[in-house]
């Protein structure tokens, strides 16, 4: 899809910056990982950036996202601090969760990044609760709840769809369907692939995007967010997408046998980071790439130089207040 005509060069630059930052941040995590400085299981979203970026580009600061343990992209796209994330992965006191959450539990209350969970599906109803609060308080805010294809197998997903529709909650469910749960393909887990049709039986408008196109994702989100703000209730978007790296860890996994590298090829060819990059002026792109590298270097340096939590932090924050 072409970007909608209303997108200005500065919009393209913003979108590219976000895509590029996420890609490079995760590549950097992968680079550092063998040093054992990051003692946290990392689930990279390299290849899946366009979903988070397409969605979050539409959301305002008062809108929210909830993510999964594969949540670096969601966190960064919504405006989570890169320094806070890097420090968190390093287990430092300056991390976004003070070194208590790690890669799977990124959060940034200021940017309305609601936090992610290592138990699949858990954050779906939690996002719905945030939407309920937004509705009751009439804030006009909307939440995008990210979930994997695996999460659609958990009962809580259906319970949430039903309630969200019944109460017309301002929530956009975003399914990042990368075809696998760890190493298990859809065919071993889904009776059928009629996910959108199923969700539609709750009277929830559904959209399926086959190619990870960041502009298509952005357009659907814009429609859904607008509708939700007007009180129309939830929407659902299924994005076919592909995880380039291994399920957890920094490397790839085409050698272990559950998938072929040929699957990856078409996704590399339509890589959204590259695609949007080529739409920019070369000079703009270079400028952004440099800025990204600088941010990244600063974030790593920040993480490296930050202190570990003090021992007494162990006992802090068990109870609030």
């Amino acid at each position: 899809m072409e970007p909608s005509s209303s997108l200005l060069p500065k919009d393209l630059q913003r979108i590219y910056k976000s895509l590029r930052l996420i890609r490079r941040a995760e590549e950097e995590v992968a680079r550092i990982y063998p040093s054992d400085k990051i003692k946290s299981p990392v689930h990279l979203s390299i290849g899946q950036e366009s979903v988070a970026v397409g969605v979050c580009d539409v959301l305002g600061r008062n809108d929210a996202v909830s993510g999964t343990y594969r949540g670096h992209a969601t966190y960064l796209a919504k405006g989570g601090s890169l320094k806070g994330m890097m420090a968190e992965l390093f287990g430092k006191d300056t991390g976004c969760a003070r070194g208590k959450g790690g890669s799977m539990h990124l959060i940034e209350a200021n940017a309305n990044v609601l936090g992610s969970s290592a138990v699949v599906g858990t954050t779906i109803p939690i996002a719905m609760g945030w939407a309920l609060a937004a509705q009751k308080r009439k804030t006009g805010a909307v939440i995008a709840a990210f979930l994997g294809d695996g999460a659609t197998e958990e009962g809580a997903f259906y319970e949430s769809l039903n309630f969200a529709s019944l109460h017309k909650l301002p929530i956009l469910f975003v399914c990042e369907n990368n075809g696998y749960a760890i190493h298990t393909p859809l065919s071993k887990r889904w009776a059928t692939e009629h996910l959108c049709a199923r969700v539609a039986t709750y009277d929830i408008p559904t959209f399926r995007i086959e190619d990870g196109d960041v502009f298509a994702i952005r357009n659907v989100t814009a429609w859904a967010v607008d509708a939700a703000r007007k009180g129309a209730g939830p929407a659902f978007m299924e994005c076919r997408i592909y995880r380039w790296r291994e399920h957890v860890g920094p490397g790839d996994d085409y050698h272990i046998g559950y998938r072929q590298k040929t699957e990856l090829q078409p996704w590399i060819e339509t890589d959204q980071v590259e695609k949007v990059g080529t739409m920019l002026d070369a000079a703009d792109r270079t400028r952004i790439d440099k800025a990204v590298e600088k941010e990244l270097a600063e974030a790593v340096a920040f993480a490296e130089s930050s202190p570990f939590p003090k021992p007494r932090a162990l006992l802090e924050n068990v109870y609030a207040g």
Partner: protein, 370 residues
């Protein structure tokens, strides 16, 4: 009537009732009054759960709330305990104060993932960035053949996991004060109500007040043996206290009120004095509240304190429905008194109270609805 006896004790201990007037109030009405007063005070409080707005209103405890506060703040849900719990957590993280009501504690097994993996942990694992001020009201069923899946008091599972608070008030006064405390508390609180307590009355102040968590109450004084009861077992212990008095045994009865935080000191002080501690729980013994209380007391006291301990609770079986088996499944004032007597006077001739006398008035009255 033991419930009233208890109420009086409670009144004299707290002084609260006297200070602000007050009247005899049923437990069920105390719950409702707490919610009304907090909803009046704080627009972020809302109540939801299966059947909260139906004609029976959770045995009356939510009756009329929707009429008063509207559908926005009091609403029914689908049968989706898991997602509804997650929803409460999300709303709480967004700054609201949900009260999620479950007509049976057994149903919490459907939402353990949200309660244990999210509610208990969010504040900590997100480095203090969020709070989860929610209340989970849940009722323990008993009697009339409710059986295996409508009779469990599963609070020890929640006591096990840091981040949750657990309270189990035994009378109307504490029910109101604890519920207000739980609503104002910034942490997820598992609020345990025993069905048989609903009709019991106690003097209860009119105005809003809190019963602090982590402060046990000595509800009857004594010197020969210390009995700790949980939830409605406080009432059973008080009746046993009377039976024991007739047998010349002076027993102290302690109501922990909150299980997390747990006030071990009050129990320890009493047990150091009597040197006999009987903990009577509303659940099974293994890894239950009774295990924790006994372990904490003896870990702190050491063998030099010379405290002898015993636990009572559910029989180590699933709850049966046949009335004669059901009667054997639960501790009752007679079996409690008998055990306490033996603890207090190990060398005396065994004694059993007259079983007729031992029947609790409220138990004999109770039958459905469930």
């Amino acid at each position: 009537m033991p419930a009233k006896a208890k109420a009086k004790t409670s009144k004299s201990k707290t002084g609260a009732a006297k200070a602000s007037g007050g009247r005899l109030l049923k437990y069920v009405d105390a719950l409702k009054e707490a919610v009304i007063q907090e909803m009046d005070r704080d627009p972020d409080v809302f109540v939801f759960g299966l059947d909260v707005d139906d004609p029976k209103g959770i045995q009356g405890s939510t009756l009329g709330l929707q009429q008063r506060f509207g559908r926005e703040r009091v609403f029914n849900t689908p049968l989706s305990e898991d997602a509804m719990t997650g929803m409460a957590i999300g709303a709480a993280m967004a700054g609201m104060r949900p009260i999620h009501v479950h007509i049976r504690m057994d149903f919490l097994m459907l939402c353990m993932n949200q309660l244990i993996n999210m509610a208990a942990k969010a504040h900590y694992m997100y480095g203090g960035q969020v709070k989860v001020p929610m209340v989970v009201r849940s009722m323990i069923g008993k009697s009339w053949g409710q059986g295996a899946q409508h009779s469990q008091g599963l609070y020890s599972m929640f006591m096990h996991v840091p981040g949750l608070k657990v309270v189990a008030p035994s009378n109307a006064h504490d029910a109101k004060g604890c519920l207000i405390q739980a609503i104002r508390d910034d942490n997820p609180t598992i609020f345990v109500e025993h069905r048989l307590l609903y009709p019991t009355e106690a003097y209860t102040p009119n105005d809003a007040y809190t019963v602090p968590f982590g402060k046990a109450r000595v509800v009857a004084k004594g010197s020969d043996v210390t009995m700790v009861g949980v939830s409605n077992m406080v009432i059973e212990c008080l009746r046993a206290h009377e039976l024991l008095a007739e047998a010349g045994v002076s027993s102290e009865v302690i109501d922990p009120i909150s299980l997390v935080p747990l006030d071990v000191n009050t129990i320890l002080k009493s047990a150091r004095r009597t040197k006999k501690l009987l903990v009577v729980d509303n659940s099974w013994l293994a890894c239950g509240a009774s295990a924790e209380i006994v372990a904490r007391v003896l870990e702190e006291a050491g063998p030099e304190a010379g405290i002898r301990v015993q636990r009572m609770g559910f029989a180590p079986t699933t709850c049966p429905t046949a009335p004669n088996l059901e009667a054997l499944f639960y501790p009752n004032p007679a079996t409690i008194a008998e055990a306490a007597f033996k603890l207090a006077k190990p060398k005396a001739r065994p004694w059993k109270p007259d079983p007729k006398q031992a029947q609790l008035a409220y138990q004999m009255q109770f039958r459905g609805p469930f």
